[in-house]
């Protein structure tokens, strides 16, 4: 079974990492594992293109939406795991990590990746909740990995806020189950299976479903990083080691968003489009505005990237609010483009932190003159982040805006365009100061970048640009995947 294979690979790697003490080759083994998952994920996409599904009796199922999410998770985890040996070596050199904690790190990373894969491959909405909550547990120790005051505080805040937030999502899931039982009249082995819920979605009690969806938006919204439960995000992302931040920002947020996409389909079928749309527009706009305000005067590099994640999650919420097949396809493309771009940014930010010893942007201005390769990669990734063509975020943002106008949300588009222009100006100003400002130190010889670091990052950026120019490999996949969550 293909699905079992996808879950078994990272699980086997977890056991391998648990069985032996830390060696750099284990880091490379995790990268091989991510590559294998990526290969199987692409195969899964190809086989689900005909509209067929892989299913294992109501427990696991892969339709083209799940298959697409597997590819996103595998791509970003490949980037993150490629940097594991490097990050561990740097941290051991500077005495932050010992072999013992490096072993914990590798184990937890693999558990984290397995939980995300399970979340998108499970058929059961309850198991979806269980696996998303399990990612919180796995990532806590990754956030506190550096064992500084800030890291402990960030991980404490992360567990408390995410657990109380996602508890609401559990209550919402229970209410959906209650409505489902009432609609079908009895308990089946397929209860809480998403397809069974969708089959009776038109008969779900509107009062219960409305309350349930509101709880789910706030609950999963906590994990997505949507306002009002976003405040763990900048702390956790800024304190975690770079590959962990890349995974959290690049895919963890969007895996939780994937849960919302499934529940949105249920809610639209039960309630009609108005209520889900209103709710998603409100949280989307609020997240976008908050991110804009926080980005203007941001001084810390990693916090800037974290707030930009909140911005992009807000854009996704607006896209999902429009809810047309075109909008959802654009949302999915945005998930992939944002995942890759954010991973590149966080990984190069990690390298900047290692070299410069700080993430305060004012302290390493003029980076381009001193470290041209690293600064160049960072600069291009920043260009991609502000959705400049040819990168794929440009295409997805434009398509989302068009779909939102078609859906009658032109005022939301107007607000988001104002926010995006301000963010564009803010990020360009921060980026220019950081890359081209007058250097604070007079470090004569420009340093080069190791190929093991440059090659994956440049490849990722090229892939991101290629996605923006050629829609060929993805177009029909995205259309199929969007059709899955059409009520």
């Amino acid at each position: 079974m293909l699905i079992l294979g996808i879950l078994a690979i990272p699980l086997a790697t977890t056991l391998l990492a648990a069985g032996v003490s830390w060696r750099p080759w284990i880091g490379w083994a995790t990268a091989v594992s991510s590559t294998a998952v990526l290969g199987l994920g692409i195969w899964l996409c190809v086989t689900t293109l005909s509209g067929s599904q892989w299913a294992l009796n109501h427990s696991l199922r892969a339709d083209s939406l799940s298959a697409f999410m597997v590819v996103v998770i595998a791509t970003v985890s490949l980037l993150a795991t490629l940097f594991t040996p490097r990050t561990m070596r740097q941290e051991m050199e500077s005495g932050i990590t010992t072999a013992r904690y490096a072993r914990h790190y590798v184990i937890l990373m693999q558990v984290f990746i397995t939980c995300m894969l399970l979340a998108v491959l499970t058929a059961n909405l309850g198991v979806l909740w269980v696996s998303i909550e399990a990612t919180t547990i796995a990532t806590t120790f990754l956030v506190s990995h550096r064992r500084t005051d800030g890291a402990f505080e960030a991980s404490w805040k992360y567990v408390i806020l995410c657990s109380i937030g996602i508890a609401l999502a559990f209550l919402g899931t229970v209410l959906i189950y209650y409505a489902e039982l009432h609609a079908t009249g009895s308990v089946h082995s397929s209860s809480l299976d998403w397809t069974s819920v969708m089959a009776v979605a038109h008969h779900l009690d509107p009062n219960v479903t409305r309350l349930a969806f509101a709880l789910l938006v706030v609950g999963y919204g906590t994990k997505v990083g949507l306002v009002p439960m976003h405040s763990w995000l900048p702390d956790a992302h800024s304190q975690a080691p770079a590959p962990v931040s890349a995974l959290m920002s690049g895919v963890l947020l969007t895996v939780a968003f994937y849960g919302l996409l499934r529940f949105r389909a249920v809610a639209v079928a039960a309630l009609g489009p108005t209520f889900p749309r209103t709710l998603l527009v409100v949280v989307g706009i609020a997240s976008l505005v908050l991110a804009t305000v926080m980005l203007i005067a941001q001084r810390d590099l990693k916090r800037m990237l974290a707030y930009s994640s909140i911005e992009h999650m807000g854009l996704l919420a607006l896209g999902a609010a429009a809810g047309t097949p075109l909008a959802i396809a654009a949302v999915l493309l945005h998930i992939l483009g944002h995942g890759i771009t954010k991973a590149v940014l966080f990984l190069s930010a990690g390298e900047i932190y290692y070299l410069e010893g700080t993430t305060e942007m004012a302290k390493f201005s003029g980076l381009l003159a001193r470290r041209p390769a690293l600064a160049g990669i960072f600069g291009f990734a920043l260009v991609s982040l502000v959705a400049f063509p040819p990168f794929s975020l440009f295409v997805s943002e434009l398509t989302m805006a068009r779909a939102e106008v078609d859906a009658g949300l032109w005022w939301a588009v107007a607000i988001s365009l104002v926010c995006l222009s301000v963010i564009f100006a803010a990020l360009t100003r921060h980026g220019r100061q950081m890359l081209m400002g007058t250097a604070s130190t007079t470090d004569a010889a420009p340093s080069t970048l190791a190929p093991s670091m440059a090659i994956p990052l440049v490849t990722a950026l090229v892939a991101c640009a290629a996605l923006g120019v050629l829609s060929w490999p993805l177009q029909s996949l995205l259309a199929h995947a969007a059709q899955v969550v059409m009520p």
Binding site: I137, V159, I160, S163, I164, V174, L181, H182, N207, Q239
Partner: protein
Amino acid sequence: MNSTYIAALELAAGAVLVSAVMTLWRRSVRSIVSMLSLQGMALSVVAIVLALHEHEGALFVTGCLVFVVKGLVVPGLLRRVSRLDPRSRESRPLVNVPASLVFAAVLIVLSYVVSSRITGLSPSDATHLVPVGIATVLVGYFMLVTRRRAVSKIVGLILVDNGIALVTFLLTSGVPLIVELGSSLDVLLVVVVLQFLMVSMRHHSDTDRLTEMKGLRD
């Protein structure tokens, strides 16, 4: 038979809420943890009474699981934390105890108001008690936002979770067993993680300063 069932169900569900309010009233961590243990046991009684009444094997298993996890293991873990902490009293809550109790009363009334829409769908002896579960959830959130100590925050989290479990039992006779197993495991792990973080922080620096979450900001 039926009246015994209703009486047992009401008594057990009532005990869940009363123990939640008691955690607001008591200040020493030791007695708060005893209240949590009582609450976990009352919760398992709710599940077992429902299981016997509806002849549901899976729910009976869930009830036993709840007894072990929420009645014994989780309070046991917290007791270990409080033993590590010499100053195990909630010394400076943001809202004082009498005012907290008044708030709790308001929250209970509120939960009856919001629950009417849910329980109207299928009125039964069990669903009539749903407001008790919602009230426990709200008391848990209140505890989380008004108590400063790290242990109190964990207690608040457990109250929220127990309240949701009570709602689940009363509304749907529990979620499918696999989901129940998974979510119990998650809750247990969250408590372990939080406990572990508290211990690591204590070795490292001042726990309370960190868990007040005021160091990191923009």
